[in-house]
Symmetry: C2
Subunit: 370 residues, 2 copies
């Protein structure tokens, strides 16, 4: 059995008893029931994913998967293709958005060359993980992005990244992307897998004007009618109209779920990876946190179609994992509140509609909990 | 001139040239223009508030103002009044929601007794600041909450807190509340100052049922018609139907603005304080960040009326400053991205619609920026 199949087989439904255990504790903490809102939802899900009633999310990684796209030839992006590799260097020097936000949030950044059109002379240097499948995808306007074998390999790259990370002790991961042109294949993949029309979801990416946007919609529509990918076979969709980083992102998600690690998905391109992962294994959706509603195209509509409410809505559309690392911090906040808050009994605080707790009317012991 | 008047006099409009300076830098950073969305908005506003093009928000405090409310006699809360002091002890031991989230976000918690119905034997101990005006407000169903002089003093307490904090080097502050029953006076204050009907904004607070909610709406309506406070005079509104922590919060906001320090406002009760501050000095609104849309009552409607879009929407309704500290972290993320990201030139990244930057086609210097 292939790594991909073994991984999918190993992904199990969440056990509802862990939700109950977490709810019980949450309802005994010194706050009105449910008053931490979605933070409580996040804590419960992390308990259920990790099957640990005192989970810790203390070692965090974001994988930024970088790849190039043949479809850039069609003039769908505002930036030249070479920016993909230039941004990889920027990541490695710590100068990009994801670097600043990951330093702020205490998250380690791993940049993965899964298909950049450039020979980095710094292979496997600190921070760059080399898993190049090829020098970028083919132009989906004319031929399949990649072979079916390459599509599977791109997903298995992502699975492998998580396996390595787990060995290093990482217990909370997220995914982001870098790839000039990649909102075009992402739109094609998500249109195919969600049934939404390209008109509803294609956006301006790095900042094209309305005329180029119309052209980009046409490119996506034409690619879909030319290749006619079968939405029941996400590997087919990924290979015909996808991208290497989209496959890699799907793999990180599947790999995380198979190791019972919560996975946070970034914006538009990462959501394309998520639709591939969910298409391959619907159960995986319970292991995913969708970090934010991107301002790119119809991302909000896609999330609605997936039935999820994103954690943040800050009009961001940078990719790289920038939305994901902020959401990781919020999810961890929920877990810390769950772990660290005192119960009513511990704190000597009266419960709802009870009389005063007489124990608490004396000056209590002020030894700090933390 | 009183401290309050001097403070209001010293609050100046923001200088648009600082927004321009910040925008210039943001547009040169290695990202598509505007792609960090609201993070860019936050960074620009912090630059303009601080009049510093390299602002730092590295020393952060949250003030949790605690007070009691005579109106609890009317049966408007699900919890007994004594929980206010019990929660103060919980704060001091580090066991409350605000403690867990402040540890997570690196923010110092200062608990302020501005009117708790309890003699703490630990006055001015570590973490507790004693600024008690009285042992709680009067019952607004029967008499004014406090005298006009006490209303002014409660605001001046808040102003003083900021002055002390600035001397200790704090450069970023937020406000939260603790006070059983305080959503009732908060609703009355906001109804009076925004013109919204109590039916639209009164909520279930710590968790009352529908029958008690109807009663709470009546209590607010009756208090407003009994006292008939004049919305053109926020001190009048505060003294007749407000609370000490609401005044204190207004003071922290005014004090922050007068010292050019960004102030983050928590949820429902803190927003009541904000409406008092804005009523006294409309210019102060440019110094305020509204952290989150609370799930309490018509908080979303009130924010709409104030013309602001909150940073977070996580269904939280705990108060204490719990939403504020999470938002402080997001605002600081924007400032760090603004400060730390490389420009296109620094990173050798090609700009939009330019040809390749030939400098960048060689293996660049990989010295890390951070």
């Amino acid at each position: 059995m292939s790594l991909l199949h073994r991984t999918i087989e190993s992904i199990k439904p969440l056990n509802p008893s862990y939700f109950n255990l977490a709810s019980e504790r949450l309802d005994n903490l010194t706050k009105p029931k449910g008053s931490l809102g979605r933070l409580e939802e996040f804590a419960k899900r992390v308990v259920a994913i990790t099957e640990n009633t005192k989970p810790s999310l203390d070692k965090k990684a974001v994988f930024v998967l970088a790849g190039d796209h043949g479809v850039v030839e069609e003039g769908v992006s505002a930036y030249p293709k070479g920016v993909t590799k230039e941004m990889v260097y920027n990541f490695l020097r710590g100068g990009a958005g994801i670097n600043a936000l990951s330093r702020h949030t205490g998250i380690d950044v791993f940049v993965v060359d899964i298909g950049v059109d450039w020979h980095f002379q710094i292979e496997n240097a600190e921070g760059l993980i080399t898993r190049k499948i090829s020098m970028g995808t083919n132009n989906i306007a004319k031929e399949p992005a990649m072979s079916a074998g390459e599509a599977v390999r791109s997903i298995e790259v992502g699975i492998g990244l998580v396996q390595d990370a787990v060995e290093k002790g990482y217990n909370f991961i997220s995914v982001g992307d870098m790839g000039i042109g990649n909102t075009t294949p992402s739109s094609a993949v998500m249109s195919s897998l969600t049934g939404l029309n390209p008109d509803e979801i294609v956006g301006t990416g790095t900042g094209i004007d309305n005329k180029v946007l119309e052209h980009k919609v046409e490119v996506v529509k034409n690619a879909l009618s030319f290749h006619n990918p079968d939405p029941d076979f996400p590997i087919d969709v990924l290979s015909r109209v996808g991208g290497f980083e989209i496959g890699g992102i799907a793999g990180v998600i599947l790999g995380g779920a198979s190791r019972r690690i919560p996975v946070v998905v970034d914006g538009f391109v990462s959501t394309a990876g998520a639709t591939v992962a969910i298409g391959l294994c619907p159960e995986v959706s319970n292991y995913i946190f969708f970090s934010h509603k991107s301002a790119e195209g119809g991302h909000g509509l896609i999330l609605q179609k997936l039935g999820v409410v994103p954690i943040l809505d800050l009009d961001m559309r940078l990719g790289e994992g920038t939305g994901a690392v902020l959401a990781m911090f919020i999810i961890e906040a929920g877990v810390k509140a769950y772990n660290e808050m005192a119960t009513f009994e511990e704190a000597g605080v009266s419960k709802k509609q009870e009389k005063h707790n007489h124990l608490a009317t004396n000056e209590p012991d002020l030894a700090r909990i933390k």
